[in-house]
């Protein structure tokens, strides 16, 4: 038995329908599984019309969206690639300049190191010369101090000898002038003066021997 035009068979209804009952969006009446989705419900005015194919608008929107995205992605890829090439070249030049600067710095450091070594050698020489000069200053200062010591000792000895001579002269004056005398006695005075002069003379000779 062949179905009349437009009328769904029970077989078609089973294959095309849903397994569960659904509310019709138009009428609100529950649609039985036997009904074809999108098909007009039985009993409606469109029930007698032939079923329509889905609207082409949603598929056009999706194609447009993907095409737009693809176009944007391609453009972005081109831009990014060009940018990366420029940046890479820039960094390559930067690295090259950096290497050149590094070589320059290495040369300067080597020169500075050589200059520093030369300065250290010079400093060592100067320090040695300074040490020698200081030792010489110390020796000269010592010689001068000892010379002044000797000078002072000789001056003392000379003054003592002069005093000895003066005292002996005084004794002679008393001995040759009857009006003069020593309260302590001439012999006692003479003994003291002799002892004093002897001490001066001994000290002087000892000093000469020590030099």
């Amino acid at each position: 038995m062949s179905p009349a035009d437009g009328e769904p068979t029970a077989m078609q209804a089973v294959d095309a329908g849903t397994s569960a009952a659904q509310d019709s969006p138009v009428t609100g009446a529950r649609v039985t599984p036997d009904a074809v989705p999108g098909a007009p419900a039985a009993g409606t005015a469109d029930a007698d019309q032939a079923p329509t194919t889905p609207s082409p608008a949603p598929r056009r929107r999706l194609r447009w969206l993907w095409a737009t995205l693809a176009g944007i992605a391609a453009a972005a890829l081109v831009v990014v690639t060009a940018y990366m090439v420029v940046v890479t070249n820039g960094w390559r030049e930067y690295a090259s300049d950096l290497e050149a600067s590094l070589e320059e710095v290495k040369a300067l450091a080597a020169q500075d190191r050589a200059d520093r070594d030369a300065m250290e050698e010079r400093l060592a020489v100067v320090e040695s010369q300074l040490e020698t000069a200081n030792a010489r200053i110390t020796d000269l200062a010592n010689e001068e101090a000892n010379a002044l010591d000797s000078q002072a000792a000789l001056r003392d000895a000379v003054e003592a000898m002069i005093e000895c001579a003066d005292k002996r002269q005084e004794i002679i004056r008393v001995l040759t002038n009857p009006s003069l005398y020593f309260p302590q006695g001439t012999n006692a005075v003479r003994a003291e003066v002799d002892a004093f002069c002897q001490e001066v003379q001994t000290s002087y000779y000892e000093k000469l021997a020590g030099e």
Binding site: V26, I72, V87, S101, A145, N146, L180, V193
Partner: protein, 266 residues
Amino acid sequence: MTTMARPVTTALERAVASAALAGTLALTGCGVVPTYPEPLITDYVPTAVAAPQIDRGSLSPDGFSAAQRMTVRVRNIGCSGLTTGTGFAVDPYTLVTNRHVVQASRQIEVTTYDGRTISITTAAVTTVADLAIVTSEEPMSAWSTLAADDPVEGDSITVVGYPRGRQLTTVTGMVIGTTPDPLGASSGPVYATTAPVEPGSSGSPALNEAGEVVGVIYAKNDAEQSFMIPVSTLRTLLDEEGLLQPQPTECPTTPGGFAPERIVVD
């Protein structure tokens, strides 16, 4: 009843959506791709300059240390002969030495490390220790810093002086400990050290590792130990001028201090 189809998006809407998407991608991309390098700096000058650290307090322009420059040779032209000792400056015009270095003197002369003679104005001694203070007319080129505390056993010391009146000499030693004054000249304890000294070193400064004066050398014994008066005693003396008394510079009358007399005839 007719089916209401969805309206097709307009070109304007497509353009706006594309621009928004492109802008979002651009902003996202800028965050992940590397930036172009900055120009290489070729004339960098560091802000911190490595200046050489020169300790100008230890050496003079002539290469002698401060300790050498502050130490003087003392010549005592005495009543019975000439003796030498050592002293050191505690300020530009004040020198410290031992009492026995300047006693019984007719004239005191002081010379520096480079042979200059310093004129002396006054000399004063004390009875509390073997110490004397001498005042100079001309300022010294260097003077000492007194340590805040006395040394302790085991401390290293450096002694600068003129042993036997010869060249300026620097020797080192170690503090042994305190002991009563073996000569009985100091009222307080003195310190024994291992620093080798000779006659002529009396009055030498004993310096600690920081270059501060911790004592004044004044004696030695047969066991080659030297003795020094601690810096605390020196500080007391410098702070209390009443402990000082002027050192006389006149000698007793010489032998034969007599005069003949004339016979009086009545």
